[in-house]
């Protein structure tokens, strides 16, 4: 059991890549929906997917390039931004996707009536 958990955690980058591919597909689908049907739900979903992608990329990459030099260069405001921005992006990204999906769902329901 323990070795199984170990494999999942050590292969975290693979799972993260799956999540990123899913978000990219979501973004492409949302852009396509927005362009083809002019539905605002698609635009909201695309914005949400981009927010989530940016936040996840930052959270994946920041341990590799963040060191004391960069932290002292960006100063206290920058450090608080690096803490606050990913959380805000993750929250607003999720809200955008849910809101956009709701808009698209209403559009589909109205179209089927």
């Amino acid at each position: 059991m323990n070795s199984f958990l170990n494999t999942i955690i050590t292969n975290g980058i693979l799972l993260d890549a799956f999540g990123m591919i899913g978000l990219c597909l979501l973004g492409i689908a949302a852009v396509k929906l927005a362009r083809r049907y002019q539905s605002w739900g698609g635009t909201m979903m695309a914005v949400g997917a981009i927010f989530l992608l940016v936040a996840r990329l930052f959270m994946m990459l920041s341990p590799h390039f963040m060191n004391d030099d960069i932290l002292s260069m960006i100063g206290p405001v920058g450090i608080s931004l690096t803490i606050a921005l990913p959380v805000l992006l993750l929250s607003f990204g999720l809200a955008g996707i849910v809101w956009g999906l709701w808009g698209h769902e209403r559009w589909v329901q109205e179209g089927s009536r």
């Binding site: 958990l5 955690i9 999906l101 769902e105």
Partner: protein
Amino acid sequence: MNFVIHSPLASIEAVRPVFMVVMGTFLMVIAWRLCKSADGWAARLIVAGALLLGIGYAVLVPLYETGAIARFSPKAQTISNSAMFWQAMKQVVMNSGWLLFGLGLAIHAKVFSPTTPALELSKSPQNELVS
């Protein structure tokens, strides 16, 4: 429950888990409403992905945010089995949830199918010249 941190009411730390629970539940409900009249792989993938994401956002992330689950950190000297289990569960649930949801929505939006039907392309000017 030694890990529970009591944050003041209506602070951002206290609101975020509630926000996540609401969003996760909404995502599941909307995906189900979108797909209840449809069948096929797109609907199945969207519902499966939304269910996984709903579990992730409505259960796992709030538990982490409130501190009910110990956070996993690879630099720690001793890693408890439960922290490892929850971390593995979170990784699998969230990432496969986004993958399935994205794939389902991409099929729903017809990203993979060509925009022009193949039949229209078969008619070429050379055929017209011959006839």
